[in-house]
């Protein structure tokens, strides 16, 4: 029963010689059942022996990541691995073929990744450069063409002045170039200021040609090309040495390097354009070639290799991940000279498996280095073993509900097992409706039976439900069942078995000795007091359920106390708590059921609330309306006894435990003054460099034999104990009342659900039925849609969520507070399989 209580754990020490550390850890990782304990959690990762390897793995992953972005840009679809075990076997086969120490395979892989990355990087850089070149040439061409348009032909012929007298004004120089669009205004302003307005500046937007866009969009890796502008400045004076020209040149260059020499003659212009066109064509063919090459080397990564069922890229990535994981876990051990020592938890009975793996390690080891050794040890008293359950797919969501509140303490009763039924049941009580429950049930069943198909549709909403399919089904089933009990079908009662009442003279008459076989007689819906009747019924039902649930929780506490041999808690907490609960609210439940069973004469209807209150306020008076038919004195005797028990159990809860603890502590102080050897060992470990490993191992062995470990008793401060016990007692007594009241949410939510359903039904369907004819039909159709949408949105989505949350609360607070310690921690196995399956997809 490894689900009722967590698995038994054993504490082992692990000693591995340095040479075979990798092999041994590799084998243990395949086993995946070791919970390795960090030897020194305070030691920063950087200072650990294998920090360097972890870093190398990280670097390799970083490089792979870079390749991956390229793969994505080229729309290469990787084949992802889906069977980690098979992959691990493949890795082992590869290792066996190599005939070299296992850890060196990572060096090879690292080198390969490095090469591949450099190779691909270089090619993509080349491609990038070529594209840039095409861009700049095209830009030049564009600029020249545009400038030609702007300047016209006359610019070439201006060297002959029209008029000899004012030739200086007529000579113009020109500057042409490209700037970023965002600099446009600034450029204009600065030009104006420098030339004092004596230059003509024309700026035209450049629209890059469309033809390269196709390649560019695919490859352009990191830059967004900015819109650019062409500028043409015409300034007076052609002399190259003029200060204005120098200054203009400086400014233009400070904006951007792309200044273009404008040819002197038309012929030169033509030649230049032709030349540029040629260059473009050349570069483009180069681009095509580079791209092809790049694609070839990328395809190599996508293909399967070495018989693994995934892309080579994935194979590399997962191997590096595996290696990193191994080194991280190896870092949990500590180095003592030439050996690694560490501790781990192992589920009971798996020792044989581990030793088997260790033997395999020596067989697989090429150099036949000695393998690691394990030795069972007594754990240090201050650490609890981890909590480990064997879970299956049905249980996982329920265990998750429990773990969200807190992981069970080692070996304590796991509330998860009861949650499997109680959780859907309490949900069902709140969500009680035959139709809604049935829909939920259908949804759950659909996901269960179509699981295979659904798991392929990753974008389906049902795909997300797959892990929760069993909990959904159970919730639906219990909602359906409770709906039958409340006889509520979308706010209508179903007359399934024939009502026991029939109308007679405008009154309802009951058939003699008739009992409606299952659930509520549908006739109540027709009566005016249906709400009153249902409320009182549901309220009583929820209190009965609640008290039963809590009593069960208290009983579990007793079982836990017995299991851990904590008799003090058993006698001084469990028993008084049980008595208190049973003699107050248990008694109330009993009265409720008794009242249901009896038929009382008119005017002698007992009120249960009154009975409960009078039990305390008038403990000596016999009641005039006893719940026990005609037996008031008997009832009085019982109530008196129960009241006394309840009152007595409060000091019983409060006083004995701290008193006993206090006295035992005094005894303890007198008798126990031996030195604590355990601590000595720990101090040694702190200054590990100074002791030789031999001595250390002796220490460990003596520690293992259990002679020197003394239970280091937690020092109880007696004041603290008193305060703690007082809080506990007050919490329990007050909690008894408030928790019982809290279970009334079972009634409240089911009332809310019923009322909502009724409103939707009345407003959308019932009210429209009497409108006959075609219009009525159309309206009916329309309102049916409204009804369906409201039912789906409000009841099937929101109300499910609400009831779920309330059921969650009832479990976490009202039920689990009675017994559940929840201070354990989960078992984290050193397992390749688990780690890899978490990283299967990027």
């Amino acid at each position: 029963m490894s689900f009722f209580r967590s698995k038994k754990m054993k504490y082992y020490s692990l000693v591995i010689p340095r040479e075979s550390a990798w092999v041994v850890m590799d084998q243990l990782g395949r086993l995946g059942q070791l919970h390795i304990i960090d030897y020194d959690p305070l030691l920063p990762m950087m200072n650990r022996p294998f920090a360097n390897y972890v870093k190398r793995c990280d670097d390799a992953l970083f490089k792979l990541n870079g390749i991956n972005t390229l793969l994505k840009q080229f729309k290469k679809n990787l084949i992802y691995c889906n069977d980690t075990q098979k992959l691990l076997d493949k890795f082992r086969d590869i290792q066996n073929l190599r005939q070299k120490p296992g850890h060196t395979y990572f060096d090879e892989i690292e080198l390969e990744i490095e090469n591949k990355k450099n190779n691909i990087q270089e090619m993509s850089n080349n491609l990038q450069n070529l594209l840039d070149r095409v861009d700049s040439i095209t830009e030049q061409k564009l600029v020249l063409e545009k400038a030609k348009e702007i300047l016209g032909k006359s610019i070439f012929s201006q060297s002959t002045p029209h008029n000899v007298n004012d030739y200086q004004q007529l000579k113009f120089g020109q500057l042409i170039g490209v700037i970023d669009k965002e600099d446009e205004n600034r450029f204009k302003r600065i030009m104006f200021r420098i030339t004092k307005g004596n230059a003509w500046v024309n700026i035209v937007d450049l629209l890059p040609e469309k033809q390269h866009h196709q390649i560019k969009n695919q490859i352009d890796l990191n830059r967004v090309s900015q819109p650019r502008c062409l500028y043409v400045i015409i300034y007076p004076g052609m002399n190259d040495q003029s200060t204005m020209k120098q200054k203009l040149l400086k400014v233009c260059d400070s904006f951007c390097k792309n200044r273009i020499e404008y040819p002197n003659s038309e012929e030169a212009m033509e030649n230049r354009l032709k030349d540029l066109n040629n260059q473009i064509n050349e570069t483009q063919s180069l681009i095509r070639m580079t791209k092809k090459q790049l694609e070839i080397s990328l395809d190599e990564l996508v293909r399967e290799k070495n018989g693994c069922n995934c892309s080579y890229f994935e194979q590399l990535r997962l191997y590096v991940l595996k290696e990193k994981y191994l080194y991280i876990n190896l870092n949990y051990l500590t180095m003592q000279g030439s050996i690694f020592t560490g501790y781990f938890w192992l589920p009971d009975g798996l020792e044989v498996l581990v030793e088997d793996k260790l033997r395999q390690a020596i067989q697989n080891n090429i150099d036949r280095f000695p393998t690691g050794q394990i030795q069972e040890m007594k754990p240090k008293s201050d650490i609890l073993p981890p909590t480990y359950f064997n879970l299956n797919e049905v249980i996982i969501p329920f265990q998750e509900i429990v773990n969200t509140y807190g992981v069970p303490r080692y070996q304590e009763i796991n509330p998860g097992i009861f949650t499997i039924i109680t959780f859907p049941f309490l949900f069902g009580v709140m969500f009680a409706d035959i139709a809604h429950g049935f829909l939920l049930l259908l949804t759950g069943l659909y996901v269960i039976f179509w699981k295979k198909q659904l798991s392929k549709q990753t974008d389906s909403m049902f795909n997300a439900m797959i892990p929760f399919r069993y909990i959904l089904t159970l919730m639906g089933f219990f909602a359906f069942y409770n709906g039958l009990i409340y006889n509520d079908y979308l706010s209508i009662s179903l007359n399934l078995f024939g009502s026991c009442y029939h109308p007679k003279n405008e009154e309802w008459e009951r058939t003699l000795n008739c009992v409606y076989p299952f659930g509520i007689d549908p006739v109540w819906l027709a009566s005016g007091s249906s709400l009153n009747f249902m409320n009182s019924y549901k309220m009583k039902l929820s209190v009965i359920l609640g008290v039963t649930h809590m009593l069960f929780g208290i009983l579990l506490k007793g079982v836990n106390n017995l299991y851990f041999r904590n008799y003090l808690d058993f006698f001084c907490e469990f028993i008084p708590q049980l008595l208190f609960m049973a003699s107050t609210f248990g008694w109330m439940d009993f009265l409720i059921i008794l009242k249901w069973l009896n038929v009382y004469p008119d005017k002698f209807d007992p009120s249960i609330i009154e009975t409960m209150i009078n039990q305390v306020l008038k403990p000596m008076d016999e009641t005039s309306t006893p719940v026990f038919l005609n037996n008031a004195s008997f009832q009085l005797q019982i109530t008196q006894v129960l009241t006394i028990i309840a009152v007595l159990s409060i000091p019983w809860m409060l006083l004995p435990k701290p008193l006993i603890l206090g006295s035992s502590q005094k005894k303890h102080k007198v008798s126990f003054s031996e030195p604590q050897y355990q601590k000595l060992v720990q101090e040694r470990q702190g200054s590990e460099l100074e002791i030789d490993p031999q001595q250390f191992r002796k220490d460990l062995q003596s520690a293992a034999s259990g002679k020197s470990i003394e239970q280091s008793e937690v020092e109880h401060e007696s004041g603290e104990i008193w305060v703690h016990q007082m809080i506990e007692t007050i919490e329990f007594v007050l909690g008894g009342i408030s928790n019982t009241a809290s279970y009334l949410r079972l009634w409240a939510l089911s009332l809310a659900h019923g009322q909502l359903a009724e409103v939707f039904y009345d407003m959308c369907i019932a009210g429209k039925l009497d409108m006959g004819g075609i219009v009525g039909g159309l309206m009916g159709g329309y309102f049916y849609i409204v009804f369906a949408l409201l039912t789906f949105g409000v009841l099937m989505m929101m109300d499910v969520m609400e009831c779920f949350l309330h059921a969650l609360r009832l479990h976490w607070v009202e039920f689990q507070s009675k017994f559940y310690k929840a201070d354990g921690y989960l078992f984290v196995g050193f397992s390749y399989n688990q780690m890899l399956s978490e990283h299967l997809k990027l």
Binding site: R189, I190, K247, V251, S254
Partner: protein
């Protein structure tokens, strides 16, 4: 009152800053950094801190200048993000903060161009916090013609105002019948450091009046306090550095220069102005500032500027002492609620952190012995609060 409405506009920006508080290196982390044996080790250590992303792509043997650039870039990115999230007054305020870095950049560019350093190198070394698009156009500068530089380029920039004021003031100070030649001479002799100090002084005064007139009372209270100290810090620095300065040979010249460079705000101004302008020795300076706050204690340990030969790495310089006190004030101000002081303090403290890292990187790359007093010369932000 302003505490109630502070969150309406500035809550988000402030919340981001508060979140960034977690990115400061702790004392333990500094301790570990000191233990690093080489630059690659330091880098891999920094990669485990908040600086991870800005360093990952670099070569392990990273030069300190690039390291500084990367760290500053990260700070600038964060600051830009906050600036983008801010509205109204806060945006203006944050922009004002950045002006200080712009001044530094402009002066650095001018200095570099004068020394004929290649513009590409200069551009790669500018502080990303003070980047503005016109900065590359400073290349236009010819000789020492600052006025045309101003006219052509800087006039559009945020710091144009300060530059104009600076030009006007320096020209006004010349004698009445000045000639064009005089002005050119004036600029030729002017040191970039002088330009920087005067520009910063103007910026500080301007910022001070901005805070005084625009901000809400809580922010004002926090900021004016900080700015006053900064102004005093500047004043003390100016006086201190001009003691025994050989370029300023006459007493009259010293006083006029001091008068130009010392901010006209702060706790020392105007009460102590007369006294400190006259101070010609360190003791006189100590005497001059004794009336204010704890300045006297601060100056107690400062080395005497007249005995410059005795300086070495061991002694704490005046700057170190002042930074230390500054850090304490900023850390306090960072923890203040509902004021803009937190942005200012964040910037300053991060600057200090970067200074620390760079200092340590220098120490490590020079392979100085671990008992060298220089290792102690870092000022850890927020370390003052614990004591």
């Amino acid at each position: 009152m302003d505490l109630c409405v502070f969150g309406v506009d500035d809550g988000y920006a402030e919340a981001i800053i508060r979140g960034l508080r977690a990115s400061f290196l702790t004392e333990a982390q500094y301790q570990q950094m000191k233990n690093c044996a080489s630059i690659p080790e330091l880098k891999s250590f920094l990669e485990e801190t908040d600086y991870q992303n800005c360093l990952q792509a670099d070569n392990p043997q990273i030069p300190t200048s690039i390291l500084r650039q990367r760290l500053k870039k990260k700070l600038a990115d964060e600051f830009e993000y906050i600036e983008a999230q801010s509205t109204g007054i806060l945006t203006k305020y944050l922009f004002h903060l950045r002006c200080r870095f712009m001044i530094d950049n402009v002066v650095n560019m001018i200095e570099g161009l004068k020394n004929k350093i290649d513009i590409e190198i200069l551009l790669s070394n500018i502080d990303p916090l003070g980047w503005f698009p016109e900065i590359k156009n400073i290349k236009v500068l010819e000789g020492d013609d600052y006025s045309s530089l101003y006219r052509d380029v800087l006039i559009d920039t945020p710091i144009g105002v300060y530059f104009m004021k600076f030009l006007e003031e320096s020209i006004e100070n010349l004698h009445e019948n000045r000639t064009l030649n005089d002005i050119q001479n004036l600029f030729r002799e002017m040191k970039p450091e002088y330009i920087r100090t005067s520009l910063k002084k103007m910026w500080l005064e301007d910022f001070y009046s901005f805070c005084e007139s625009e901000l809400m009372p809580t922010s004002q209270e926090a900021l004016l306090e900080l700015l006053k100290f900064e102004a005093d810090f500047k004043t003390v620095q100016v006086i201190y550095n001009s003691i025994g300065n050989r370029d300023l040979n006459t007493a009259a010249k010293i006083i006029t220069t001091r008068k130009q460079l010392c901010p006209t705000i702060g706790n020392l101004y105007p009460d102590c102005e007369k006294v400190y302008l006259q101070a010609m020795t360190l003791d006189a300076l100590r005497e001059a500032v004794k009336g204010c706050d704890n300045y006297r204690d601060l100056l107690k340990d400062a080395p005497d500027p007249l005995k410059r030969e005795e300086f070495n790495v061991q002694t704490k310089t005046l700057d170190d002492i002042m930074y230390d006190d500054e850090c304490r004030r900023y850390a306090l101000s960072f923890d203040g609620q509902g004021s803009y002081g937190v942005f200012y303090a964040y910037l300053k403290l991060k600057e200090q952190e970067i200074r620390n890292i760079i200092w340590l990187a220098e120490m490590i790359s020079r392979k100085l012995a671990k008992n060298h007093p220089g290792w102690k010369k870092i000022i850890i932000p927020f370390s003052h609060l614990g004591k």
